[in-house]
Symmetry: C2
Subunit: 340 residues, 2 copies
DNA sequence: CTGAAAGCGCTTACAG
DNA sequence: CTGAAAGCGCTTACAG
C-alpha cells in the first residue's frame, strides 16, 4: 500500500506552526516576514521529511499545470520524433512538461487527444494539424487556449504558427536537378489538401513551368497516405513507362522516399546512373544507403524551440499578438542528383 | 485571456440544483438515486455547455492521476523509442497517460526525472534503470510506489521486472556464427556493469569456451558509452590486427553495430566476405544496408505490453506479489553471418 | 430523491 | 512575525 506523501500539514505538525507559515517559507516569497529562526527550522524539517510539493494541488489552486500538450501527425516518422524530442528538451528548460500523442493523420484521433489533454488542463498546445482538423483548431481558439501550429497551418485560420517556406524549398531542390541537367522530373506526393503539401507541389510545378514552359509539363503523382506502400510502386512504374520516361524523381517526404528507394532497388535501378533522386527531410534509414541523398533539411531545432518559446509567451502574456514564423530550409547536396 | 472552463457549479446554477447532484449524475454512480427527469436535464445542460471534468481536481480528491512515469535510458535509440511507443499505446488502452523522459544513461538525470514525475503524482513507474541508480530504485520501493523495471534489473534488488534472457540470446547468436564455420569471433560491448550487458557478455564467453575450450579464447573489447564513436574504431582495429585477426564481430547493441559498420565501410571491408557481423536489436538504419544483418530480435511488443499490465495491476492491487517476467528473444538470420 | 458539508493539498489576502 | 479562513473543482458519507 502506497504511503501518503508528506504534506505541508506534516511539517506544520512537526514544527508546531501553521500550514500557512510553512507554505510561506517553502514557497520562498520575498514578502513573507517569517522569522529567520523559524524559517530555518521549517526548511530543515522539510528536508529531513523529504518534502515534495504536490503539483496537483498547486495546479488546482493556480489554474496552471506548466504542461504543454503536443500533438504530432505521426510519431513513427523520425521527422516528428526528432521535433518531439527538441520540443521536450526546450520545454524542460523553461520548466514545462510535455504530454504528447500522435494523431496518425486522423482527425478523429486528433479530437480525442485534444479532449484528453484539455481535461488534463494543459496550459497550451503545440499541434501538427492533420487533414480535417480545421474546426478543432477553431474551437481551441474560441476557448482562448494558447496554441501554436507547426509544420502546417490553415491559411484561412489565423493562428500562431512556425513553419518553413515549402514553396521556396521545393523550388530550390527542383532547380538543383535542372542545373544538373535533368529534364523529365517526376514528383511523388501525398494527395493531401494540407497547405505544406500543396506548397511543395506548387513549388515543383512552377519551377518546371518557369524553366521549360510548354515544352515539358510537370509529371506529378499523388498517392494515398493509407495505401502508400503499394501506390508508390505503381507511381514509379507509371513514371518510368511510356516513350518519355522520367530521369529524376522528387519525393515530397522522407517516408515516400524510403518506400520509393526500396522499390527502385528491387527494380535494380542505380542512383543516380539510372535515375536521380531528391527528397524532403532525412531519415536514419538513409545512413547506409549507398548513394547520399540530395534533400531538403528543415531547421528542426529552430522550429521546435521557436514553437515552445512562442507558446510559453502566449501562456504567460495572453494578450500578446499572434506570432507567425516562416523559416527557410537548407538544400543538402548529395550524389543522388549528380548528372550521370 | 483564457476563459474559465465550465465546472459542475456552472451546471448546477443553470439547472438550479446542487453541485452534489450534478456530480452524482455525471459520474454515473449506480447508487445515485437521482430522478430520471432531473438526470436527463443535467446531462443535457452538461452537453450544451460542453462540460469536461477537471482531471486535476479529480486527481487531488482521489489521489490517483491515472498517469504512468516512464524513464528510458536513451530515447534517441530506436529500441527505446519503439518500446516507448508500445507502452504509450497499451497505457492509453488501459486509460492511463504516459509522461516520459530519457535519463541518457545518467544517474543524476534519472534522479531528477523521478523527483519530477513523483511531484506530478504519477501512479507508478516503468523504468529502464541506468548505471548507479540502485539507490533510486530502493528509495521508490521504500515509498511503496508501484514500479516495473524493463530491459535491465538489479539482481540484488527484488522488483517487478520484464526482461529477456540475454544470456540465452547471446549464446544463440554466437552459436549461429560457429555453425557457419566462424572461429575467431570478437565481441564489442559497453563497459557497463548492468546486468543485461554482463549477461550478453557471459553468453558470448561461455559459448566460445564450450565450443573451443582452451584452443580459442574469447576476444572481448569493452568500450565507454560516452566515447563510443572513437572507441569502436579502435576496438575494430585491435581485433583485426595481429597474427590471428578475427573473422566475425558480435556487437552487443544496435548503436554499437551502426558505429561499427560505418567504420567497416570506411575500411572497405565487405560483409560477410571479409568479415561476418551479428548484432543485438535492429535499427531503421539497417534497412538499406547492403547485407541484411543476422541479429537478435527482442519481443518489444510483449515487453512493453507486459510492463504496462504488471504496473497497472500493482497500482490497482498493491498487495499483489511481485511479478518477474523473463522472455526469450528470436534469432533473425540474415546474410551477414553466412560462411564466406 | 436531493443537498450541506468535509476534505484532497496547496496558496494568499487579510486580520491580529 | 504568525495564523484562521476561503477557495481551486471535485467526490462522497451522511442527514433529511
Amino acid at each position: 500500500m502506497k504511503k501518503r506523501q508528506v504534506s505541508l500539514k506534516d511539517i506544520a505538525n512537526e514544527v508546531g506552526v501553521s500550514i500557512a507559515t510553512v507554505s510561506y517559507v517553502l514557497s520562498d516569497r520575498k514578502d513573507s516576514r517569517v522569522s529567520e529562526a523559524m524559517a530555518k527550522k521549517i526548511k530543515e524539517v522539510a528536508k529531513t521529511l523529504n518534502y515534495q510539493p504536490n503539483k496537483i494541488a498547486q495546479s488546482l489552486k493556480s489554474g496552471k499545470t506548466n504542461t504543454i500538450g503536443l500533438i504530432v501527425a505521426d510519431i513513427s516518422n523520425p521527422f516528428f520524433a526528432n521535433i518531439a524530442r527538441i520540443i521536450e528538451d526546450e520545454a524542460t528548460k523553461l520548466n514545462y512538461t510535455v504530454i504528447f500523442g500522435s494523431s496518425d493523420e486522423k482527425a478523429e484521433k486528433s479530437l480525442h487527444l485534444i479532449d484528453f489533454l484539455s481535461s488534463r488542463q494543459v496550459d497550451g498546445f503545440i499541434i501538427v494539424p492533420s487533414e480535417g482538423t480545421d474546426n478543432q483548431i477553431i474551437q481551441l481558439k474560441q476557448q482562448n487556449i494558447p496554441l501554436v501550429l507547426i509544420d502546417r497551418y490553415f491559411p484561412n485560420i489565423s493562428t500562431n504558427h512556425v513553419i518553413i517556406d515549402n514553396f521556396e524549398a521545393s523550388g530550390k531542390i527542383v532547380n538543383e536537378l535542372i542545373a544538373s541537367g535533368y529534364k523529365r522530373i517526376g514528383m511523388i506526393a501525398y494527395s493531401n489538401p494540407l497547405f505544406h503539401m500543396r506548397e511543395r507541389i506548387r513549388g515543383y510545378q512552377e519551377t518546371i513551368q518557369n524553366h521549360f514552359g510548354n515544352n515539358i509539363s510537370p509529371n506529378l503523382v499523388e498517392i494515398d497516405f493509407n495505401d502508400s506502400r503499394k501506390q508508390v510502386c505503381t507511381a514509379i512504374d507509371g513514371l518510368l513507362a511510356g516513350e518519355n520516361p522520367i530521369d529524376a524523381i522528387f519525393f515530397a517526404t522522407n517516408t515516400l522516399a524510403i518506400l520509393g528507394l526500396k522499390y527502385i532497388d528491387e527494380l535494380s535501378l542505380r542512383v543516380p546512373d539510372d535515375i536521380a533522386i531528391v527528397s524532403f527531410d532525412e531519415g536514419e534509414a538513409f545512413d547506409f544507403y549507398y548513394c547520399p541523398l540530395t534533400h531538403i533539411r528543415q531547421p528542426l531545432d529552430e522550429i521546435g524551440k521557436k514553437a515552445v518559446q512562442v507558446l510559453t509567451q502566449q501562456i504567460t502574456q495572453p494578450d500578446m499578438g499572434e506570432k507567425q514564423i516562416c523559416l527557410k530550409a537548407d538544400l543538402i547536396k548529395g550524389k543522388s542528383s549528380i548528372r550521370r
